[in-house]
């Protein structure tokens, strides 16, 4: 039932390289670590990302952005910009051909700001020129006159109704209210009560490939857009509206995507590049640099959560009360869904019969926030897992034991009233982590007497800040839970076409879908499925575009389930057709036949009966399938009740940290992860997802924060927005559990998001264990870990074991 995939970071990586080099290895089917076709190119630096797009004669687009978080636009003068040699055009709101509002869930964001700007960095005008530097100079030459207004940047003030409305409907994007049981009447039964407030900062998806696209006018009023995206069909819907075109006149092809993590669900260059291309009748490329990228996509919502937990002395939870507020920034993006998702899981993966959850997403004049890996559940998990450790402390109970006592199981009722269906192996995950041996102490990082210290094994790393002085160790645990797939009544589906033909005498399967490969490995999975289903080794996955039906977003950890399901079902139809043809030819019932090794075989003996080449000749067998997951319903507005989800996924982490309590520097010694994935479709890719999600959670715990002061981003660069390097990322002891899910293709479950949830609170709980500090907010800064900055940290009494 379990799969052990132990991988020290370095070990896993060398294994990857070995597999890539072994070109004689057979192509692999479902459940095997098939090499991703994009992997060698990416490793060698030869993969073409969207920023590499090029056409002769193309123009370069650039964007004028507001320097003010809130202002009225009094005038825009483009005349000086147009005088620059090489500048083709400058467009403003008046030039938007269609609806000057777009949005993934609610069209409230202007394509180009009209009369008002609501955040610093908002697009006001776009220019096209024959060279990127000329386009940048044109942008600088555009004169925008603003009447600067006082920005509303405090979400509590926004919720209280202060600061003036940013949108006509007021500043609350959504309120979610969940009532389950009766907190008021059971409160006296709680023998121990803890309260706490927890905050999380603004995380950037920090994908390595900044936003880019190339728009090519088709000469008949339509446009082709090559772009990095997570969901090209929804992009098309929004672009067509902005351009005032029928969607059939807008065709998208997915270009090379350099990471997404939610940040490519909203539009960036899309409409701008198309507008410029249609206006000039020439191809237009837009490609943000790193600084602009920080303003070109949404960030993770910063959160403030207040949690009250009531429990019996046994640890059994009596009630959970949560109030949480997300700052959605200037436009809606996916804020209403993010706050719902945060509320669904605000009580954690625990059985508790009495729950009150109140969640708010508000508008402010901060940059827009939207989807990011974990989608609200990250903030909720950080808060509840922090509160659980606080409760364990108050009870004098082991934090793992407390979690096990309250762990949900199959059949447990969630705060939304939904019964947990499908496996819920929470206890198994926690017990596994609890029983893992701890890494050995490394008191001074030295390899032995007389050897120089290995600074990489000490907090502060090569900065040479300690040789073990006042370094204490801590251990922390956390558990995360999240829904997989689109929830709340959305008819979620994906479309795939599978065709089988004979090319050069051998069978070839072509798979076609619009599923966006963002780096997660969906292309490889789409090739693995036909190998298993049709017994054909050679599978080509066509580039994703909008000429086929919608695949939905590469989001919500859903794409392998949904598009995998569509490919599997389309393969099933192709197989049925092939076996029926073979049955006629062979005079056997189709039930006696199977596909393997490029042939139709006897099901029982496996003996080939007829090759696919003989069976098909020049014909092609093809099937299209639209895969829908089971229906869900939205939660109600009054008590937040409803069967909103198709499935839940779980992950847990144990973190071991060393803290230099004088300087507040941290080394994460080990991050052990345990996750149920249902079925590891491609174990190596699953490990990659767990490693990456865990590292992203580490970033939120210790490093990553878009710092915003009065609506202005202070650190829009990878010099000052820091993501973990390999020296910050510890070995990961990963245990992959495979409890088959009853409703999904192959029993798989979503994989991408859960590891991002529990990694952050596990690390912070370990820091709390080491230092005894409360540490309410993430990312934890060095100064937060120095108990009394400015005094001598040596006389504090940490709770952690001194090394």
């Amino acid at each position: 039932m379990t799969r052990t995939a132990r991988a020290g970071g370095a070990g896993a990586r060398s294994q990857t390289i070995t597999e890539v080099r072994d070109r004689t290895a057979p192509p692999l089917g479902v459940g095997e670590s098939a090499v991703r076709p994009d992997a060698p190119l990416k490793v060698l630096g030869r993969f073409a990302f969207a920023s590499d797009l090029y056409l002769d004669g193309m123009l370069w687009g650039a964007t004028v952005r507001s320097p003010h978080p809130r202002a009225r636009i009094l005038s825009i003068d483009v005349s000086e910009a147009l005088k620059i040699r090489g500048v083709a055009t400058v467009l403003t709101a008046a030039d938007v051909p269609g609806e000057n509002l777009y949005g993934i869930k609610k069209a409230d964001q202007p394509v180009l700001a009209d009369r008002e700007v609501r955040y610093a960095g908002e697009a006001v005008a776009v220019a096209a020129a024959d060279h990127p530097e000329t386009a940048r100079r044109a942008v600088e030459a555009v004169r925008v006159e603003y009447e600067v207004l006082t920005p509303l940047t405090d979400p509590e003030q926004a919720l209280a109704g202060g600061g003036g409305p940013i949108h006509p409907g007021g500043n609350v994007a959504r309120r979610v209210r969940i009532r389950h049981g009766d907190v008021g009447s059971v409160r006296p039964q709680a023998e121990v009560v803890v309260e706490g407030e927890y905050r999380s900062g603004v995380q950037d998806p920090a994908f390595l490939g900044p936003e880019a696209g190339l728009a090519v006018p088709d000469g008949s009023g339509g446009v082709d857009l090559y772009v990095a995206s997570q969901w090209i069909h929804d992009d098309r819907r929004q672009i067509a509206a902005g351009l005032g075109l029928d969607p059939s006149m807008v065709r998208l092809t997915l270009s090379g995507v350099g990471g997404a993590f939610g940040g490519r669900e909203d539009l960036s260059v899309h409409i701008h590049a198309c507008m410029l291309a249609l206006r000039m009748g020439r191809p237009v490329k837009m490609s943000y640099n790193r600084e602009e990228s920080f303003f070109g996509h949404v960030h993770r919502h910063p959160s403030r959560s207040r949690i009250e937990l009531g429990a019996k002395r046994t640890g059994e939870l009596v009630y959970t009360k949560v109030r949480l507020i997300l700052d959605g920034g200037a436009y809606t993006s996916t804020s209403q869904i993010v706050i719902a998702n945060a509320c669904y899981f605000a009580a954690g993966a625990y059985r508790v019969d009495n729950v009150e959850i109140d969640g708010y997403a508000v508008y402010t004049n901060n940059p827009p926030r939207g989807a990011m890996r974990g989608f609200g559940a990250v903030q909720a998990c950080y808060a509840i897992e922090s509160a659980m450790d606080r409760l364990a402390g108050a009870l004098g109970m082991d934090p793992v034991e407390l979690r096990i006592v309250n762990a949900i199981e199959e059949g447990s009722i969630l705060p939304t009233g939904q019964a947990v269906d499908g496996p819920a192996p929470v206890r198994e995950l926690l017990e596994h982590l609890r029983d893992l041996p701890l890494p050995p102490d490394e008191p001074d990082g030295s390899g032995g007497p007389g050897r120089a210290p290995d600074l990489r094994r000490l907090p502060g790393g090569v900065g040479n800040t300690t040789r073990g002085e006042n370094v204490v160790r801590g251990v922390g645990y956390a558990l995360g839970m999240k829904a997989i797939g689109f929830s709340g009544g959305v008819d979620d589906y994906s479309t795939a076409r599978v065709s089988l033909s004979i090319v050069g005498g051998a069978p070839l399967v072509e798979v076609y879908s619009a599923a966006a490969e963002c780096g997660q490995g969906i292309v490889a999975v789409q090739a693995q499925i036909p190998r298993t289903e049709l017994g054909v080794d050679t599978v080509v996955v066509r580039p994703a575009d909008t000429l086929i039906g919608d695949a939905g977003s590469s989001a919500a950890s859903r794409q392998t389930w949904m598009t995998g399901g569509a490919v599997q079902a389309a393969c099933g139809r192709v197989r049925t057709e092939l076996l029926e043809r073979a049955a006629v030819r062979l005079g056997r019932p189709p039930e006696d036949l199977a596909l393997a090794g490029g042939a139709v075989c006897e099901r029982v003996s496996g003996e080939p009966a007829v090759t696919l080449a003989e069976l098909l000749g020049g014909e092609t067998v093809e099937a299209v399938f639209e895969y829908h997951h089971r229906p869900t319903e939205p939660i109600d507005d009054v008590n937040g009740q409803g069967d909103a989800h198709i499935a839940f996924a779980y992950a847990a982490h144990r973190a071991v940290v060393d803290v230099d309590t004088d300087l507040g520097l941290v080394r994460v010694v080990e991050l052990a992860a345990a996750q149920d994935v249902g079925k590891a479709m491609n174990p190596q890719a699953v490990e990659g997802q767990i490693e990456g999600g865990t590292a992203q959670g580490l970033g939120l715990a210790l490093l990553e924060e878009v710092q915003i002061v009065d609506g202005h981003v202070r650190n829009p660069s990878f010099t000052d927005y820091l993501i973990p390097t390999i020296l910050d990322t510890p070995p990961m002891n990963i245990e992959i559990f495979e409890f088959p899910h009853p409703d999904s293709p192959y029993g798989l479950n979503g994989v991408g998001e859960p590891p991002t949830l529990s990694s952050t609170p596990a690390i912070v709980n370990a820091l709390r264990d080491a230092t005894g500090l409360e540490l309410p907010g993430v990312p934890v800064r060095s100064a937060d870990l120095v108990s009394r900055a400015g005094s001598n940290g040596a006389d504090q009494a940490p709770r952690g074991r001194r090394t």
């Binding site: 640099n289 900065g463 040479n464 800040t465 520097l665 060095s782 100064a783």
Partner: protein, 297 residues
């Protein structure tokens, strides 16, 4: 933008004199970032990266003359004995790719208060050899940094090399960053003990408008070490001397709050680093105390 690639050092000097607005580039690890983000649009670049005259180092009269074009990687590999603090600092610079390109000459030309090479150069009492058609001169490192990202070079001058006294005693460098590698200093500190001249040198980074020498702390420690006979007997100074030195070193800084850290944290960290580096330096003195004094370093 013009791009000039002189074949010889003297051609480079002539070009800089001819048009002082040309901006020299070597590794490009600072300048190209500025250009890529359109923060600077120099009229012309003067590419010094192929000039062999700048790529060497030699030891003479107890000092290392380090060519301005020597990369951090080479400093780590070749100069860990002569210039141990600069080697430690070099190891903290950027990523391997940056260390393969970046140079101390470039660090000095940028003159950022956070430049990793600066504190060790201050602590060692280095001097910057600048050259123009008017001639060459040595600028003491203490006079080189004149403001945030400003230095004492005249518009027609280029940095030819840095002259750094080789270690005659322990040297340490310590840097706090918000990440364990590839990070700009939140605050950094360098210490040099010259056992022959009985001098203490310090350098502070990222805690003021320029890199700073903690002059009073140095004088205090020199005096205490003399009075306590610590130089003579290679004996560790009393803990309170170390604490006082650390406090004085920290008070020499004038840090600000910024995205990398708060002023109060910087001052606090500086005190810890000054205390720790002094302890490590004396560890070395004590460990090597049995060796003949002259052969020590």
């Amino acid at each position: 933008m013009e791009y000039l690639r002189p074949r010889t050092w003297s051609d480079a000097v002539a070009l800089k004199t001819e048009d002082p607005s040309v901006v020299p580039i070597n590794g490009g690890t600072d300048l190209m970032v500025e250009i890529n983000f359109a923060r600077r649009r120099p009229p012309a670049l003067l590419d010094l990266s192929r000039l062999d005259e700048m790529k060497g180092w030699e030891k003479r009269n107890g000092s290392v003359e380090l060519g301005a074009g020597v990369t951090y990687t080479r400093i780590i590999e070749e100069l860990s004995t002569e210039l141990p603090a600069l080697a430690i600092a070099s190891r903290t610079v950027g990523s391997p790719q940056i260390r393969n390109r970046g140079t101390v000459g470039g660090n000095l030309a940028t003159a950022s208060p956070a430049g990793d090479a600066h504190p060790p150069l201050l602590a060692a009492g280095a001097s910057v050899r600048a050259e123009s058609m008017r001639g060459a001169r040595d600028i003491p490192i203490g006079e080189f940094f004149t403001g945030p990202k400003q230095n004492a070079l005249e518009p027609d001058e280029l940095i030819r090399s840095v002259v750094i006294p080789a270690a005659r005693g322990p040297r340490q460098f310590s840097k706090v960053g918000t990440r364990n590698a590839m990070v700009i200093a939140v605050v950094s500190f360098a210490l040099s003990l010259d056992l022959e001249e009985r001098r203490v040198g310090t350098g502070i980074g990222s805690a003021g408008p320029t890199p700073i020498e903690a002059v009073e702390a140095q004088a205090y420690l020199e005096q205490e070490l003399e009075a306590g006979g610590n130089w003579d007997h290679r004996r560790r100074p009393a803990p309170e001397v170390g604490e006082r030195f650390a406090e004085m070193a920290a008070s020499a800084a004038s840090p600000i709050d910024d995205v990398r850290g708060a002023a109060s944290y910087r001052t606090h960290a500086l005190r810890i680093m000054a205390g720790r580096t002094l302890g490590w330096a004396w560890d070395e003195v004590v460990e090597r105390g049995g060796e003949g004094r002259r052969q020590c370093w």
